[in-house]
Symmetry: C2
Subunit: 209 residues, 2 copies
DNA sequence: GGGGTCTTGACCGATTTGGTCAACGGCGGT
DNA sequence: ACCGCCGTTGACCAAATCGGTCAAGACCCC
């Protein structure tokens, strides 16, 4: 790809990336037209092909970008947790979810795009990129749990399962909305918090409430 | 539409409906081609337009069909619950989820199709159809809870929220897979059950465990 | 006004689109 | 053996859309 893309103003970069992700998230790779991406970004099609030689290249770049963005956000959160010595499971998870919602706000199409890209039939992505995502997902939960104080849970609770349940519910919410407006994202976050609070209330030992 | 469609063997009807839903579920209405539907169903494009005058008509029919199928499944379950006098929240919910998974097995594209159709930008559906789905969803949870014995829950638990949480997690699971193979569907059901069991264990009063 | 850079939109041939239609094949009746 | 019926096909159409190119414009600092 043309490296000059990165010397564009960040907002413009974001606008193009965001538009492209939204379009690729709404349709198959094959059925997503460069025209529709350009139109959504308010940019000419020529410019798109000036920065990315191919539809394929654009797609691969977006996937790489999305993974890196997730990784970076996750690592930043972990560092922050270390710094403040946060060890409470739900507090940390809530903070993580808040960060995720902020990413949704800034890049509404990112998560749907990643999910679609991962399951796309035609292997438009190199197995290498795919594997990278697998690694990120596999590691994140583990290294998150390792830092948490899990004694607060009642006996018989599997914290891994709690993470998974809350993550699934968040994915469910994300799937059932377009999640465009700011209020909608706030609503998603509130519902998440309500669910997390319920779990906390009944899964923590009483002395930790 | 051509009423003779209904005198086709049921399997053939299902094959066509299923293929169409899968295609419409994968792409926007505009970007979904009649050709791809026909190809997936192993049928000529001519036949499709013999039974449905339009792409639009096919689409509207599928939506109507999907809602009716959901409604009918739901009502059947309710009757069954009445008949057997089932009042346990989690038992009934599990049974409901099992029915849902059976629908996924028979019509893999149905739920994704409905969700997409509901949020499709271009109003290809009449508001009437859209409203019908709203009504179904709004009523179902209410009339379900009305028959359940909610005393088993610990104080402070909102059963509505529990339904919602489990439903969301199921949607999340459905969203993150293609859910094609039978084993995959079984896996989804098992994970659902594991989550439901956890909630049951910690949200029910101890004397009901 | 000159030189360089970002950006456009008209343009290309190739493919795909929704939809039509004449013809085919198989089958039950006579 | 022949007919008429009907579900089904696949070639066919004009129109739209596709990915990608490129010469020319817009904009800037000098």
């Amino acid at each position: 790809m043309n490296q000059k893309f990165f010397s564009l103003p960040t907002e413009r970069q974001d606008l193009i990336r965001s538009s492209a992700m939204l379009e690729f998230g709404a349709n198959t790779f094959k059925k997503t037209s460069a025209d529709s991406i350009a139109k959504r970004a308010g940019v000419s099609k020529g410019l798109l092909f000036h920065y990315f030689k191919d539809k394929r290249e654009l797609y691969a770049y977006l996937f790489q970008y999305a993974i890196d963005a997730c990784m970076e956000a996750f690592n930043r959160q972990m560092e922050r947790m270390s710094y403040f010595g946060e060890t409470d499971f739900f507090a940390a998870l809530e903070r993580g979810h808040k960060i995720k919602m902020d990413m949704v706000r800034r890049m509404p199409g990112l998560f749907r795009f990643v999910m679609r890209a991962y399951y796309e039939r035609d292997s438009v992505l190199s197995p290498k990129l795919r594997k990278k995502l697998d690694d990120v997902l596999a590691q994140s939960t583990g290294s998150f749990l390792a830092r948490m104080d899990l004694h607060k849970f009642k006996d018989g609770v599997d914290p891994r399962q709690v993470v998974r349940l809350l993550t699934l519910s968040a994915e469910g919410m994300l799937a059932e909305t377009n999640a465009c407006t700011a209020e909608e994202i706030d609503r998603l976050f509130l519902e998440y918090k309500r669910n997390a609070d319920m779990l906390r209330r009944f899964l923590y030992k009483e002395e930790y409430l």
